[in-house]
């Protein structure tokens, strides 16, 4: 069974468009200089609407992870075991991603990772994912 493909809305479309292009785009607030993970129409720190998109350098660190043996749906059961992780991206946001790559099951808290882009479906949609630095 196919893994689910996110359905972007007006707030999030630029994030997913950038991912198709192998870019991790993050929203920066020009009023308070904070960066936010989930895109929205206002800054989640200072409520300003003055947000700009900037590309991330795609470097991060594993804040926590779990090796999931029992996925919540048929598609994720077929995909199990997989590594669900919270990744602190160097610009200062935390994303939920999968750790991918041949050494994914060796993941540990504090491991440096690189954000990569994984095709999902047949329409060019890509998911940001994390690969331990040096992994294949």
């Amino acid at each position: 069974m196919e893994l689910p493909i996110p359905r972007p809305n007006h707030d999030t479309q630029p994030y997913w468009d950038a991912a198709r292009d192998d870019r991790l785009a993050l929203q920066h607030c020009t009023a308070c200089n904070k960066v936010q993970a989930v895109p929205r129409s206002f800054c989640g720190h200072c409520q300003s609407p003055d947000l700009v998109w900037r590309d991330s350098n795609r470097q991060g660190v594993i804040a926590s992870f779990s090796i999931v043996q029992r996925g919540p749906t048929k598609a994720f059961k077929d995909y199990s075991p997989y590594v669900l992780a919270l990744v602190d991206v160097s610009e200062g946001v935390r994303l939920m991603l999968n750790i991918v790559g041949d050494d994914r099951l060796d993941a540990q808290i504090g491991d440096p990772v690189e954000i990569i882009f994984e095709a999902r479906g047949n329409d060019g949609f890509k998911m940001p994912q994390a690969k331990r630095s040096g992994a294949k």
Binding site: P6, V38, S64, R94, M96, R120
Partner: protein
């Protein structure tokens, strides 16, 4: 913030239904059964109820659940609404009921919950539905589930405070020992540390027996104004309440080791004029072993990293320093959604009234109750005391 005066509202009726896999049960039937039993417990009639608060049901998702309930039950209250805050729903319903009776808006508020989520849907269906607390674009497409999200907290928490596997298991075993003393508990067969520590992994480091049950069941609580409580059977007092809200999605949680329970409990203790050390019994939301561990420590009952050791030493058991989840909690008594958190309140009232039979804690004068919704997202704490 200026000091809040102690609450004056009373809990005047509590009841829960049978627990477990209840063939033929329906969400509304469980609501009505619990409501009738709570009215009997209080010595009130359905027509005495002027306020109704409902939660939510997974088998009966509805935009107007409280209207559906009132029609089904045959009452026409003058205040009626539904509240949804995941596992914090029951405690938040109670806090709202307290505000309604203390403001004079209502005399007797019925808080009523119930779900047939075990017999009325598949286990897979329930697990998938619960995962909807995850962000639809930024969490669910990565295979987020509720157990996996709590596992993210557990992985960090266990490492940060050097907690062993068996310490986590001790939490589960203590709950099962209490459930064995409750005639209505869903799971009562004996459980050892090894059973929990060797159960199959769901999402590392959490194993099957770190996780709560899925059960059919319902519960109702009636909250009354102080003067209106005089003609009820055996009221108990609500002394303090508090909430803490820091995030909905675990990716947006400001910390993986500190949560809103710290704020909610501090507010509730301050309003009640007590401290954690004064509490005789704790009834705390325990969706997973890690949930209870984090909450016991954040709330201040134990130092960081000490709650699991305390569980293994018997401190959470009857006769221990802080008997906790004396009915068996969500891990052994039962978990029926919004009703799951209500079972903790029902047990708290039983303890304060001295009606907890074999589970009775001697001199239970002050009980702390806590609910948590989402992934340690929404928190509500209550301090309850004797009349």
């Amino acid at each position: 913030m200026s000091a809040r005066k102690q609450h004056t509202a009373r809990i005047t009726g509590v009841a829960d239904t049978a627990m477990g896999e209840l063939a033929g049960s329906t969400a509304m039937g469980l609501h009505a059964e619990a409501a009738n039993a709570a009215l009997r417990d209080a010595g009130l009639k359905a027509s005495d109820i002027d306020g109704v608060l409902c939660g939510y049901s997974m088998t009966l998702p509805h935009l107007m659940l409280s209207s559906v309930f009132c029609e089904y039950f045959g009452i026409s209250p003058t205040f009626n609404t539904a509240i949804q805050a995941g596992g914090a729903t029951a405690c938040i319903m109670l806090a709202n009921a307290v505000a309604l009776v203390e403001s004079g808006a209502c005399r007797h508020v019925l808080c009523v919950t119930g779900d047939n989520r075990l017999s009325g849907m598949t286990r897979d269906g329930a697990v998938a539905a619960l995962a909807s607390v995850g962000h639809p674009e930024f969490e669910q497409p990565y295979g987020m589930s509720v157990p996996a999200s709590y596992a993210l907290v557990a992985q960090k928490y266990l490492q940060e405070y050097g907690i062993s596997r068996d310490e986590l298991s001790g939490i589960s075993v203590a709950a099962r020992q209490h459930a064995a003393l409750h005639p209505k508990a869903y799971k009562t067969d004996p459980l050892s540390i090894e059973d929990v520590s060797n159960s199959r992994i769901i999402a590392s480091p959490l194993r099957l027996l770190d996780c709560c049950l899925i059960s059919d069941g319902g519960a109702a609580i009636i909250v009354s104004a102080a003067d209106a409580a005089a003609d009820t059977r055996k009221p108990v007092r609500v002394l303090g309440s508090g909430q803490g809200h820091t995030h909905e999605h675990i990716m947006a949680a400001p910390s993986l080791t500190e949560f809103g329970c710290k704020t909610s409990s501090a507010l509730a203790f301050a309003q009640a004029g007590v401290t954690a050390a004064d509490i005789d019994v704790a009834e705390i939301y325990d969706s997973f072993t890690i949930t209870l561990m984090v909450e016991l420590e954040s709330i201040g009952f134990f130092e960081k990293g000490a709650a699991g050791k305390a569980a293994l030493a018997g401190d959470l058991s009857l006769g221990g320093k802080l008997p906790t989840n004396t009915h068996g909690g969500l891990m052994s008594y039962g978990h029926s959604g919004a009703a799951g958190g209500a079972f903790h309140i029902v047990e708290a009232a039983h303890q304060l009234r001295g009606e907890a039979d074999k589970r009775q804690v001697d001199d239970a004068g002050l009980v702390f109750v806590h609910g948590d919704g989402g992934i340690l997202s929404a928190h509500c704490s209550l301090v309850l005391g004797q009349e």
